[in-house]
Amino acid sequence: MSAQFLQFLLAGLTIGAIYALVALGFSIIYNASQVINFAQGEFVMVGGMCTVWLGNAGWPLPAAIAAAVLLAALLGLALERFAVEPARGASVVTLIIITIGASILLRGLATLVWDKKIHALKPFSGEAPIQIGGATLLPQSLWVLGVTLVVVLLLSWFFGRTLLGKALLATSHNRLAAQLVGISVRRVLLVAFGLSAALGAVAGILIAPITFTAWDVGVMLGLKGFAAAILGGMGSGPGAVVGGLALGLIEAMGAGYLSSAYKDALAFVIILAVLFFMPSGLLGKRSADRV
């Protein structure tokens, strides 16, 4: 394995892990409510920007991170309670437009509360690169990969072993049946939005030291997260992780070996190609129409 290839691999996995976290947020909300939340990227932005802001105000990093994740989770709850819940029963496109409205609102608020400048968050543990087989790895990349791994393990525990997690899964399979066995669907929806927003914020905080953060970073990261979720199969947890990592790797390899200008285009070409042959994504459920 050449050093160059290894370098691209590490870069791809790092950004891919971020996409995976954002994609998991898309999938959790989609499962609970059938809503594609186009404001997901803004939670990523809120996470990064709020951490930078509190850090500048003198907060220690762990406290700033916890507060930023909490703020994003609260915004997620508010989005569900005040925008998605009142519009229940509206068509899918209408719900998409509502979340797009919410994302514009959140971006606007970010420029008011914070500013329109680009900010850098200090890496969590130094900037001295680590040498692996001729490739260099930033310590922050290890944080990204490590935290993503922990989050994925926690989520699989949550969905597989806890009552609330199982209630979420049950709701995603059949909302009415879940309600009939006594699951409070409204609470499940709130949990889904809060959890997704927190995941987005974690992604935004982890990536902020590598790619910087600003009021408008959520647009592209949200788009990539959506693409990753679709690539893996909308609504599938493992699919979101696979889709995210695959998207990150495609981008890194495309930028390294083909053309950096066309790396995003290449990613979308491959997604289109996958969809043409597997219309439900890599790991998505094959759906049949009820007539």
């Binding site: 519009a87 496109v93 609102l105 971006r107 606007g108 420029t111 200008a261 066309y262 289109l272 219309p279």
Partner: protein
């Protein structure tokens, strides 16, 4: 019954024509004309997009791509190769139609969110190509476009353009409403209701979906081409994902499956940012809030909700 339907159809079209004809009375200066022209161009795209989203029930998050290809097609053929503008417009539109035909078939097999992703991806690819191939397109800085000439006369000035766009808008609405009431339009509404049921009823849903996709792409390409000539300049900003979202928002905001809704949506959402500049730094917040609250309280869109209110006064829609 049939006569009443026909007359209400024509009444709507007559009302639109009357608005287009009388609006110049309220347009006090060139700035207002400019906004009216932008509204008209956006409305043409939305009327086409509404056929796809509102009637056929297929979403597209990539129509800015078709708009942009029309615009850049005209721009490149006229500015770089010296073609006459009208020929460039026709060739660019034809090329967009062929492209939509080629990718429509595989893309429209997808459903719901996967279709949203595929059209989004198509739009993003087009916008990246436009921003990168700077030898032809001028890259991120954009390129200037010669004016449109008809029979040797250059179309310049806001007033002249207003009438061109206004007449085309009425024509676009007339064509769309005829299409909706044709067998093709009925097939689209049938497959919107249930694709399986439509197929059982003998409708070739793939063929109809591709056809309406091509038609909506042509609407977008013509409007794009005209907007490039009108502005005399084109940048990749008009081809971005965000512009695609804006177009879809106009359709949904005005009211899906309502041709006049698409026009009203385009008018409101094109003029709103101009009006909101008074709010300065609060512009984005207000715009987002207006979008959210309209959709929350009028999920079917402006025109259908208001129409229902008027039809049954005193009763909530």
């Amino acid at each position: 019954m049939l006569e009443r339907l026909a007359s209400s159809r024509n009444a709507g079209l007559a009302a639109l024509a009357a608005v287009v004809a009388l609006l110049p009375l309220a347009l006090v200066n060139n700035y207002y004309y400019e906004i009216a022209i932008l509204v008209g161009l956006n409305a043409i795209v939305c009327v086409g997009l509404n056929l796809l989203i509102g009637y056929a029930g297929q979403i597209s998050l990539g129509h800015a791509g078709f708009f942009g290809l029309g615009a850049y097609g005209s721009a490149i053929l006229t500015a770089r190769f010296g073609w006459p503008p009208l020929a460039a417009l026709l060739v660019a539109t034809l090329a967009v139609a062929l492209l939509a035909l080629a990718i429509g078939r595989p893309i429209l097999r997808l459903r719901g969110h996967y279709l949203a992703m595929a059209t989004l991806g198509m739009g993003v690819i087009i916008s990246i190509v436009v921003a990168t191939e700077d030898r032809y397109t001028g890259g991120p800085d954009g390129m200037s476009v010669p004016p449109l000439t008809l029979a040797g006369v250059a179309l310049t000035g806001e007033r002249l353009w207003y009438w061109v766009v206004g007449v085309l808008l009425v024509l676009a609405v007339w064509l769309a409403r005829n299409l909706i009431d044709s067998p093709h339009g009925r097939a689209l509404r049938a497959l919107h209701g249930s694709e399986v049921a439509a197929e059982v009823g003998g409708i070739d849903s793939a063929r109809h979906k591709v056809r309406v996709f091509v038609i909506s792409a042509v609407y977008a390409a013509v409007a794009g081409s005209l907007s490039a000539h009108y502005a005399g300049f084109i940048t990749p900003a008009k081809v971005t994902f965000f512009h695609s979202i804006e177009l879809v928002t106009m359709v949904v905001f005005g009211g899906m499956a309502s041709t006049f809704g698409a026009v009203v949506g385009a008018a409101v959402l094109t003029t709103l940012p101009q009006a909101l500049t008074a709010f300065k730094e609060y512009e984005m917040v207000v715009f987002g809030a207006v979008m959210m609250f309209t959709m929350i309280f009028m999920p079917r869109g402006l025109v259908p909700t208001l129409a229902a209110l008027c039809a049954r006064p005193g009763k909530a829609p």
